[in-house]
């Protein structure tokens, strides 16, 4: 399939930004300077970027506890995100949300979510807004194989079909719900679950940007055209633990090393586009250098940013009270 030059460059930049953001967080978290829980998206970049490449600010997404990648792919700035993760007043949520609650509704980013299965019902509502307001938008729920077993997710698949909503359910199946394998926790298959609701099903290799881009394009076009909701099953793998500090004692020796060697979406992307001269290696090198500087600057700015003030404690509980 043909992908426009600017989309390729933008997508590579977005995946590189997610990778560097997460790898840097892994290092910085170990220093003890970052409070709370952090769940890294490394290894899964092609999914968020391949899906969001088909979306505009009119479209809505809901994310998960592993949400940094979705935020970056939907256009949330890394400065505001990094400051948020450091608990600073300059953060995108003024330091009151943290890693698991980064949101920017002006970009159609309905939030990362600390509750597994929290997003799919919200996305039914966002899709209902798109339908009632007739704005041409679609709503996309990212959720994991773990959340695929939540009642909220299964109820949402049903409701979206009953109401024929412009909704896309992206099951990011990384093979583990925390420390338990999907092969243990998920009965049946995602494909059969979609079929059970009469919902069209697409799947793809989530470590291959081109595969995700193509499958997501077809899935989103189906929903956007008013043909009802779809499921997109993205098979991928995370390179770090459930959260930072997880020693991953449930994974065999060498599993992550082989993922990094053979299923690196960035390496594969570079190989693919340079082999056929779609992009020059130097163009990708330039992006790598520029992203590195951007992340360096975001970390420095976050560390030096002001903390929230005591008056912020009781602010913004309500619009008015």
């Amino acid at each position: 399939m043909q992908i426009a030059h600017d989309i390729l460059l933008r997508s590579y930049r977005s995946m590189r930004t997610i990778r560097d953001f997460e790898e840097r967080l892994h290092v910085e978290f170990a220093t003890g300077e970052i409070p709370g829980f952090v769940h890294l998206y490394c290894g899964e970049e092609a999914s968020a970027v391949g899906v969001c490449a088909h979306l505009t600010d009119t479209d809505t997404i809901a994310s998960t506890h592993r949400g940094h990648g979705h935020c970056i792919a939907k256009g949330v700035g890394v400065d505001g995100m990094m400051a948020e993760i450091y608990g600073r007043k300059t953060g995108v949520c003024h330091g009151k949300g943290g890693s698991m609650h980064i949101a920017d509704l002006s970009l159609g980013m309905l939030g990362a979510n600390g509750i597994v299965g929290g997003g799919p019902p919200l996305i039914c509502g966002a899709a209902l807004s798109h339908k009632v307001l007739n704005d041409g938008g679609v709503a996309v729920a990212f959720y994991g194989d773990g959340a695929s077993n939540e009642g909220t997710t299964l109820e949402s698949l049903n409701l979206a079909m009953v109401w024929q909503l412009p909704a896309v359910f992206v099951c990011e199946d990384n093979g583990y719900g925390e420390a338990t394998g999907a092969s243990y926790a998920c009965a049946g298959t995602q494909k059969a679950r979609a079929a059970g609701f009469g919902m069209p099903y697409f799947d793809c290799d989530g470590t291959d940007f081109f595969a995700v881009y193509e499958a997501a394009g077809a899935a989103i076009a189906h929903a956007r055209a008013g043909n009802g909701p779809v499921m997109l099953h993205v098979q991928l793998a995370r390179w770090y633990g459930h959260f930072e500090g997880d020693a991953m004692t449930y994974r065999a020796n060498g599993e992550v090393a082989s993922l990094r060697a053979e299923h690196d979406c960035l390496k594969n992307f570079r190989q693919r586009v340079t082999e056929v001269s779609l992009l020059e290696p130097s163009a990708l090198d330039d992006i790598d250098a520029s992203v590195k500087d951007e992340i360096d600057a975001a970390v420095t700015a976050a560390k030096n940013a002001p903390l929230p003030e005591p008056a912020d404690l009781e602010a913004d509980v309500y619009v008015s009270y």
Binding site: T60, A62, G91, V92, C93, H94, G95, K96, G97, H101, A103, D104, L105, S106, L110, G111, N113, G114, I115, G118, P120, P121, L122, I123, C124, G125, A126, L128, S129, H130, V132, L133, A139, G151, T152, E155, S156, N158, L159, V162, W163, A315, D316, V317, Y318, V319, S320, Y321
Partner: protein, 343 residues
């Protein structure tokens, strides 16, 4: 102005707000009814007790959405729709069913604004029936407003009459925060004069249905009616009561409650919710902390026992506070003498 039932007042508030603002939509189980049935009749029910009857017929399938029996998905959808440009009024048939969708209310709707740094608006109303007295037993009779009141980010409304219900529901729909609006199911046929035109009643401003010198009675929802009955009887014996209807438990009009207690020096609180950590304990703590010196007698709470709501009529009558129990509590605080000081 015309005589309207509690049911009609709510229906009229919904209709007038839907006429005013095309972003107001309704969703819930059988709020129209009849979809997919063999009779081919839509708007068959208008809600399980007929409160939304006629709205589907008037506003159509793009404004009134029947849902599967699937509270987690559609209450969550109402939250998501509210955060993305609509103003949904979702009916959670019986408030007891909140067990099936509490996450969507407690962790999503209530938290968005704070968690997202003040950038979200979630203009959502969740209507639900509450209350005992209908032989509906333990899973269909609870008065769960303290549960919602406990959660920052929610507003909670407990209307006490048809007039109050219409004005408070219109206010709830126009409000930009998530509002839980609780309707006592025993009151749907209560009638009173209600203006035909739209009007709103602000949240956090208590209504004094009686003003007196001796005892302040703070009562919630249907209990306001019982408090008024008790106050009328006590008046004949020369005991004059102020009856405070806070209207909303969140925000709570603490200032008015404290002023009334300063004036009367005696307080009886009537609450039909379970007695631990309920509105009675909340108001008692408020007064004990901020108006202690004004008190001439201990605070009395008229509340149910710490049990589920029973089914049998005889037990349910014993369970619910009533005007006789309120009257007796008022007489007891009037009779109270500070024993140690007198001795």
């Amino acid at each position: 102005m015309s005589k309207k039932s509690f049911r009609q007042a709510i229906n009229e508030a919904l209709r007038q707000e839907m006429q005013r603002d095309p972003r107001v939509i309704l969703m819930g189980e059988d709020i129209a009814g009849g979809q997919g049935g063999t009779a081919g009749v839509v708007d068959a029910w208008g809600g399980v007790l007929g409160v939304t009857k006629g709205l589907y017929t008037e506003f159509g399938a793009n404004r009134v959405f029947d849902t599967p029996i699937s509270e987690a998905s559609y209450i969550g959808a109402a939250v998501g729709a509210a955060a993305t440009g609509l103003r949904p009024v979702a009916e959670l048939m019986f408030v007891d069913f909140v067990g099936c969708c509490l996450d969507q209310i407690m962790n999503q709707a209530a938290k968005f604004r704070y968690m997202f740094g003040g950038k979200a608006r979630t203009p959502l109303v969740i209507r639900a029936m509450y209350g005992a007295g209908f032989n509906a037993a333990a899973q269909h009779s609870q008065a769960l407003y303290p549960l919602f009141t406990h959660i920052p980010g929610l507003k909670v409304v407990v209307p006490s009459s048809p007039y109050e219900a219409k004005g408070l529901l219109i206010e709830a729909i126009r409000d930009d925060d998530p509002v839980i609006f609780l309707e006592n199911k025993v009151m749907y046929d209560d009638e009173e004069e209600v203006p035909d035109e739209p009007y709103s009643i602000p949240f956090g401003e208590a209504n004094l249905t009686r003003e007196g010198d001796d005892v302040t009675i703070v009562a919630f929802g249907r209990m306001v009616n019982f408090a008024n009955e008790a106050a009328d009887r006590l008046e004949k014996d020369g005991i004059s009561c102020t009856v405070v209807d806070p209207r909303t438990t969140s925000p709570l009009d603490s200032a008015t409650i404290l002023e009334c207690v300063e004036d009367t020096g005696r307080l009886v609180i009537v609450d039909e919710s379970s007695p631990r950590c309920n509105m009675a304990t909340d108001v008692a703590a408020l007064v004990a902390e901020q108006a202690f010196d004004a008190l001439k007698a201990p605070i009395r709470q008229v509340v149910p026992p710490h049990t589920p709501v029973p089914f049998a009529t005889v037990l349910e009558k014993l369970y619910l506070p009533d005007s006789a129990r309120i009257e007796s509590a008022v007489r007891s605080v009037m009779a109270y003498k500070k024993a140690k000081q007198d001795a």
